[in-house]
Subunit: 355 residues, 2 copies
């Protein structure tokens, strides 16, 4: 039972060189020989050792996906799964593998340095960046190819590669949708605003309000983990205020389910008494309805984002060209039954003028 290249070569009475070249499709191998080699390889189920090969070539054919795991929050971001599913479509085609690193906040720096020093990956896919995330300059310093899912800088964002949803415009659209329906007191169930995307979403909301001359209500803005429970708690809290919001913006589908629960619990009807627009990552197990949408939503497939990010990273690795590639994904605005005309506003049919 042949196992190594050497075994295969002896078995066939050929040199390792020839066998290697036959298998790797080099042109200088006689067709008859190539066929013999392929047959034998198949017969013995021979595949080159990934480690040996990568030691010889210098390429590992592996990409690290770094998932940060907050010790404090003990949370695993639910979008990782679909993002990775998307990315792996690209990897599979290209023969790449995923090295999954789950690393605690506190160990980030060492983890990245190790990744580079151990030379076990050709590139890094970075997820869930914070505003001003230090990992980006770190990766640049290390000289490791990388693509970020999301962005991190306050200004610019042109000196590294990223794929991101246009969070600001998404929440601007969502806010405008609610303003058009006459809502003026809008609750925001946001993610942690240390996360870059959450900051941008809030910016989008505030920009839309400002553009219409509507005063923001800071007491209606929650920034917290995006769980069902938190969505429920924050919403309940706001609904019990003397002058509660008439509409909510939720940062994720899961949080939105908590918002809905709070609304129902308060004896109100979603889409009539209270409106809700959520962002929707189009997760495979959490589709926004099959025939009809469940929520009015700003949708952008995180799986597509994964595929695109992986493609960008692979092409950077292949070309050796590190010049940044960026891709801003616009959302689809889905009108669903969770939004309706603001009940308390009389003049709903004539939207306020901008400015």
């Amino acid at each position: 039972m042949a196992k190594t290249l050497k075994d295969l070569a002896t078995e066939l009475g050929l040199s390792q060189t020839t066998v290697s070249r036959a298998l790797n499709g080099f042109p200088e191998v006689n067709e008859a020989t190539r066929r013999r080699v392929h047959d034998a390889a198949e017969r013995f189920n021979y595949r080159p050792s990934a480690r040996a090969r990568s030691l010889a070539t210098g390429r590992t054919m592996t990409i690290a996906h770094v998932l940060t795991f907050s010790k404090h929050h003990e949370m695993m971001n639910p979008v990782y799964g679909d993002f990775i599913a998307g990315a792996s479509e690209a990897y599979q085609q290209a023969g790449y593998h995923i090295h999954l690193a789950v690393v605690a906040d506190s160990d980030q720096e060492q983890a990245f340095r190790n990744l580079a020093a151990e030379r076990s990956v050709d590139g890094v896919l970075l997820q869930a960046p914070l505003t001003g995330d230090f990992r980006i300059p770190l990766l640049q310093e290390i000289g490791m190819p990388f693509v970020v899912h999301g962005r991190a800088s306050i200004d610019g964002d042109t000196d590294y590669s990223w794929v991101d949803v246009n969070n600001k415009s998404a929440f601007e659209q969502a806010t405008n949708g609610l303003l058009d329906l006459g809502h003026r007191r809008i609750g925001l169930i946001n993610g942690l605003e240390s996360m870059d995307f959450a900051r941008r979403r809030k910016e989008g909301m505030l920009a839309a309000l400002a553009a219409r001359g509507v005063d923001p209500c800071p007491e209606f803005y929650a920034s917290n983990d995006m769980t069902e429970s938190v969505g429920h708690e924050e919403t309940s809290r706001m609904l019990s205020m003397p002058n509660p919001p008439t509409a909510f913006l939720a940062s994720s589908f899961i949080a939105a389910m908590g918002v809905r629960r709070a609304i129902v619990e308060a004896g109100l009807t979603l889409g009539r008494d209270v409106s809700l627009v959520t962002h929707d990552d189009d997760l495979s197990y959490l589709k926004n309805g099959s025939a009809q949408p469940i929520f009015t939503a700003t949708r952008s497939s995180v799986r597509d984002a994964g595929r695109i990010a992986a493609q960008i990273l692979l092409s950077q690795i292949r070309s050796g060209d590190a010049s940044p590639v960026t891709r801003l994904l616009e959302v689809d605005y889905i009108e669903g039954p969770s939004t309706g005309v603001c009940p308390s506003e009389p003049s709903v049919l004539e939207p306020v003028q901008a400015g």
Copy 2:
């Protein structure tokens, strides 16, 4: 800037042997030398190349997690994230890494054979087995250490290692809970019954019914993807039957949210008009309430399962002992507000006799 062992050795005026041994804690190295080596290694941020090391040692220090991705259903199981978070706790301590393989149903066999032939992992963590899953005998044939999250055989299940929730007893308990409340017509929103866990859950339900002499209602048993939408659809369908269920068992928290939506939509009140018990994997972003539970549930932490499975696998790899280790996790039965006395039954206070 030293990068390799050789560089470090020349830098220090030592042989590679000594440097390697100093770094790896061999006893025959002079303490002073060891300190010098460690200092230099730190200064240069030297870490041995993972590939070179594994080529030399024969161990890859890597575990494959194989996630099946159904081309047909295009679904990524939402529990993978927390399972992996748990497993990586164990790996991190032991210095192991995760090789993530997302493989389509159709390519399973070749994917596993490649994994073995490429020698890129020391073991495999297998997820979401089907009843009679062919991958188990396949891995046995290949001779790769593995642990299954879940089980696959109809009988026995003693010739390989696994970690599983006691699905049967969980759904027996849940069913008994509903029977005690007087419910007789119980809907089951199950996962695909080709999945082993779903089959066992149904068995548990049927066993509980049989033990109390309650006739099963096959028209109330749905077997489908465990998404919110599907939970909603199946429940709506059943609720619109002439003699609908008064209670539901849901196979996952996400499906349960769809069940709830359907109940609310039908103008019914959860926990009063209709009851619901769900299985709860205790996912980090989908906790069953913070202070009070949302649903009555059978709970078992999938993250714990991940940690335990990884520990078993690592100890098997270390000891080289392949004798199977199994671990059956019992659920916690959580009483929440989603269950109540069956409204249509008059004699609810006197539970039926068993038999």
